[in-house]
């Protein structure tokens, strides 16, 4: 199948305002803390006082008034005390081993938050403390000594050709290590959930989340209730970025367990301090490469250890690591690749999903190293990338064929031309003495896999529905019924656009009600830059089915059986030019048949082949492509530096809504700027040191550089409308582009994220480039 030309779409590709915009600018949108549920009690968590140890006893302070407090301990859990994400190693409530500081030991609820918090502070915890492994640096030190001394949470390899032999044939071999630290998602709305026990035994979970269907199986197992007795509904979500992918299962579980015990609605809204201390972060990473190149710049062999700090439990770390290793040698031709991915336990809160999901860590190292390899061959960074970058028809590190919709090398060529990279590269300061300000320009180029890794989409078989229903005012409406959530990125607008286009109607006749598992099929989680591509294309085909059924109804009942087409909001009869508006035909259908639901299901193309055990084949159905250029200025007096300009091109496939797509790119790049040079979490006494917004610093409106951003459109050929993914790619490439620019400016290379003036000062001092 070939996708239609852009001009064939009426609603797709239009920068229409978000459907939820009016509610959001007027303060009417209802987030988890905004809806009122009568008789609600407030929940709080009793937390472990050590990062590693054995719980010996937990008792209540007899002096405290417990008459107004409900307590849940592991004995109160009706089902299994397990949070099963990708490993059954994490309990909802710890009962024996403690693996991170603040791990839940009990839950409490009270009529006021104040009393609940006080109650949580009146437990006596007796623990036998053990030595904790807390940081990436400590973990890597042990790894270098003997990996068997670490607790392994996951491992996976990629093998292509014979990297070990090929390295021996290479003219030049570079061995390098790079690290990246934690990053906090810092959605502005903290985590929040309400659990309401209903009279018929249904547990109703309502709150801030990315993935309603993640919560279902988890809580059914823990509460020991059948799926039809668990209802999960999303409230308006004030940002997520992966931080509300798997975490909400925990807070939903805390609320539900307390609701079961008290038979009352329970609300938990984390304050910012709790949210930073006790929710997921981006995994810290250590990348160790040995790469062999020939003098002409050919990449001969890539060997890589990609090691993630998983935190205390398995959770989603295996797939984060998979995406990491699948991007750790991506983008360039090389016949010999050997990658070992590992995740090890440390005693911190489990690290988890965050926009990019392993790819930003991998690409940070890989795209820094590409510049080092270019220099080792005596080539410029642009020439080295142009020589080696993958084209349509080339093969990825896992042996996947790039069949179609390959935005490389166009994104690279266009970016280089647009920012005049070659000329500016000549002007870089390279640590020249005697100048107050140094200038540098740096580049990154990358692909980002769209959709689930490997055969995930084939197994998921995302389901969607469209409902033709009657609105309260009596007019017909088409409701998009998916579990894909709106969390700011625009799902609630682009999916109605796609449905409207497929049906041949205006988007004013389509709506996106917030996902509710009692009303929507499982379209999969809202992650992995998959919604526009996978769920969007399935909505398109559902829309075409509904269109065909409505056309045949109108043809038979109103147009004497003439062929009828629904186009531009009108049912049109072919022979006598009669036409009626969509609303009239749809109202007639509803009057005659009642509400009408169309289902559809995503099917991965047959040519996508994947061997999950050996990691061979098509790792992703398609890739988004991106190129970022950063220009930096270093003040040699203070070693402070700033990014003055970012130029970037992205190929995200068919652009469904250019305003929203650009919003994703702009926002993603500013998050990437924070990751690259502002956001720093250290661990002191087992605890994140930047545990408030005052100390965890993210970009404000005055921190962003000038941005010159563009798209090229290589639609995915398999499905209409041919979107790939836009959510994550903007997070991938800015950190290495900035580090590359910093080297061009200063002559020294920083290999640890975040890039800070202090680190630059250390490196400059070491290289004796500072004249003062």
């Amino acid at each position: 199948m070939t996708v239609q030309e852009r001009g064939a779409y009426r609603v797709i590709g239009q920068g229409i305002p978000r459907l939820d915009a009016a509610d959001k600018v007027s303060g009417k949108a209802e987030y988890a803390d905004d809806f009122h549920v009568p008789d609600t009690w407030y929940g709080a968590v009793v937390r472990a006082p050590v990062a590693c140890g054995k719980l010996k006893s937990l008792s209540r302070d007899p002096a405290f008034d417990w008459s107004q407090v409900a307590v849940v301990t592991p004995e109160d859990i009706p089902g299994n005390n397990i949070v099963d994400m990708m490993g059954r190693d994490m309990p909802f409530i710890a009962h024996d081993e403690i693996q991170y500081l603040g791990e839940p030991l009990a839950l409490v609820a009270a009529p006021s938050l104040h009393v609940a918090k006080q109650a949580a502070a009146h437990f006596k915890v007796d623990v036998e403390e053990r030595p904790a492994l807390l940081t990436l640096q400590e973990m890597v030190a042990v790894y270098k000594e003997d990996p068997a001394k670490l607790h392994k949470l996951s491992g996976q390899t990629i093998r292509k050709g014979d990297a070990a032999s090929a390295l021996k044939d290479a003219d030049i071999v570079l061995e390098r290590e790079y690290t990246a630290g934690h990053q906090e998602q810092l959605y502005i709305e903290p985590q929040g959930m309400v659990a309401i026990p209903e009279r018929d035994g249904t547990m109703f979970i309502h709150g801030s989340m990315q993935c309603p269907y993640y919560i279902n199986p988890e809580l059914c197992e823990t509460l020991d209730i059948p799926p039809e007795k668990l209802r999960v509904k999303q409230s308006a979500v004030g940002g997520a970025f992966g931080g509300k992918e798997e975490f909400p299962t925990l807070i939903a579980g805390y609320c539900a367990l307390l609701a079961l015990k008290t038979k009352r609605p329970i609300k938990m809204i984390y304050d910012r301090n709790q949210d930073i201390l006790y929710s997921t972060k981006r995994h810290p990473s250590w990348s160790h490469y040995r790469v062999g190149v020939m003098k002409d710049g050919t990449i001969r062999a890539i060997e890589c250890d990609f090691v993630l700090d998983g935190g205390a439990y398995t959770t989603l770390s295996p797939v984060v690591m998979y995406r990491g290793i699948l991007h750790a040698a991506m983008g360039y031709r090389c016949e010999n690749v050997s990658i070992d991915g590992h995740v090890y336990r440390t005693n911190t809160f489990p690290n988890g999903a965050f926009r990019g999901f392993g790819a930003p860590q991998a690409l940070w190292a890989w795209e820094s190293l590409i510049d080092e390899l270019a220099a080792a061959c005596g080539m410029t960074p642009d020439a080295f990338r142009l020589k080696n970058c993958l084209h349509e028809g080339d093969v990825t590190p896992t042996g996947g064929l790039l069949r179609d919709s390959v935005g490389s090398p166009e994104v690279l060529e266009k970016t280089l031309e647009r920012c005049q990279f070659a000329e500016k590269w000549q002007q870089c300061s390279r640590g020249k003495s005697g100048e107050r300000l140094w200038y540098g320009i740096g580049l990154s180029f990358f692909a980002h896999g769209s959709g689930f890794t490997g055969d995930g989409e084939a197994r998921m078989k995302s389901k969607v529905a469209l409902d033709l229903e009657t609105r309260a005012d009596g007019t017909p409406i088409v409701n998009v019924r998916v579990s894909s959530t709106e969390m700011g990125q625009g799902t609630g607008t682009i999916l109605p656009q796609v449905a409207a286009d497929a049906l041949g109607i205006d988007v004013t006749h389509v709506d996106y009600p917030m996902p509710d598992t009692f009303k929507v099929p499982d379209s999969g989680p809202t992650v992995a830059s998959r919604t526009a591509m996978v769920v969007g294309s399935t909505i398109y085909s559902a829309g075409q089915k509904m269109k065909a059924d409505l056309e045949s109804f109108v043809s038979e009942t109103l147009f004497d059986g003439q062929p009828t087409e629904l186009v531009e909001n009108q049912f049109r009869a072919e022979y006598d030019n009669r036409s009626i508006p969509f609303v009239e035909g749809a109202a007639a259908y509803l009057a005659s048949h009642g509400p009408f639901r169309v289902y559809d299901q995503f099917k991965l193309p047959d040519y996508v082949k994947w061997d999950q055990e050996n990691f061979v084949g098509d790792a992703y159905p398609a890739y988004a492509w991106g190129c970022n250029v950063a220009e930096v200025e270093v003040d040699t007096l203070t070693c402070e530096f700033r990014v003055t300009k970012v130029t970037a091109f992205f190929d995200i496939g068919r652009i469904l809504n250019p305003v929203l797509a650009m919003g994703q790119v702009q926002g993603g790049l500013i998050q990437a700027l924070g990751y690259a040079m502002m956001e720093k979490l250290a661990i002191k006494a087992g605890k994140y040191d930047a545990d408030r917004m005052q100390t965890y610093v993210i970009p404000t409106s005055v921190d962003g550089p000038e941005m010159d951003l563009h798209f090229v459109e290589y639609p995915w050929d398999h499905c209409q409308p041919g979107a790939k993914g836009v959510g994550e790619a903007p997070m991938d490439g800015l950190a290495p582009a900035i580090a590359n620019a910093l080297e061009a400016a200063s002559g020294v290379r920083l290999r640890d994220l975040p890039l800070t003036p202090e680190r630059l000062f250390e490196e400059l001092s070491r290289s004796q480039r500072l004249t003062a």
Binding site: G27, Y187, I188, G488, M662, G663, Q694
Partner: protein, 161 residues
């Protein structure tokens, strides 16, 4: 102890009896059920709780009810649509795609309203400076600045001064 105050909130005269140390944010959200104003950090860093008191933007999470003087005029996000300037700003935010998740927007747009009410001929640098206390994690700020510039161009004469 409770204090008695009369405030003009979003154009409506309101008599309140509140503990003087109660956070003004809680007075708005809990006592007056004005849930538009948000709490993002509770320590005056994120700006989601920004409201206007007597023409000045204040962080309602750091403000005690007793600090809001008797007779004070208060504008929250819910009050914007009652003003010409507020409507212009809302339309510009919608058109330019300035809201994504929307959680920072009640505070953000209130800051915009305060800025443009004071200085409708503002430029991009001043807009960025005036919103540096309103943190947005979604947009990267460019579309917000665009929206405010667009609203400034259309700022109604009636709302000036």
């Amino acid at each position: 102890m409770k204090i008695k105050r009369t405030w003009i909130i979003n154009g409506e005269k309101l008599e309140a009896e509140v503990p003087p140390m109660r956070r003004f944010l809680d007075v708005l959200r809990e006592d007056l059920q004005l849930k538009g104003t948000k709490e993002g950090c509770g320590e005056g860093e994120c700006g989601a709780c920004t409201v206007i008191v007597n023409g000045e933007t204040v962080l309602s999470c750091l403000l005690a009810a007793g600090q809001v003087p008797d007779g004070a005029t208060v504008t929250t996000v819910e009050g914007l649509e009652k003003t010409l300037g507020g409507k212009v700003l809302q339309a510009a935010y919608i058109e330019k795609g300035a809201a994504q998740c929307g959680f920072c927007i009640p505070g953000m747009i209130v800051s915009s309203y305060a800025l443009l009410s004071r200085n409708p001929t503002t430029d991009a640098a001043q807009i960025r400076e005036a919103h540096a206390g309103n943190i947005c994690r979604c947009t990267g700020y460019d579309k917000i600045v665009e929206a405010i510039q667009s609203a400034a161009e259309q700022w109604p004469v009636e709302a000036k001064g």
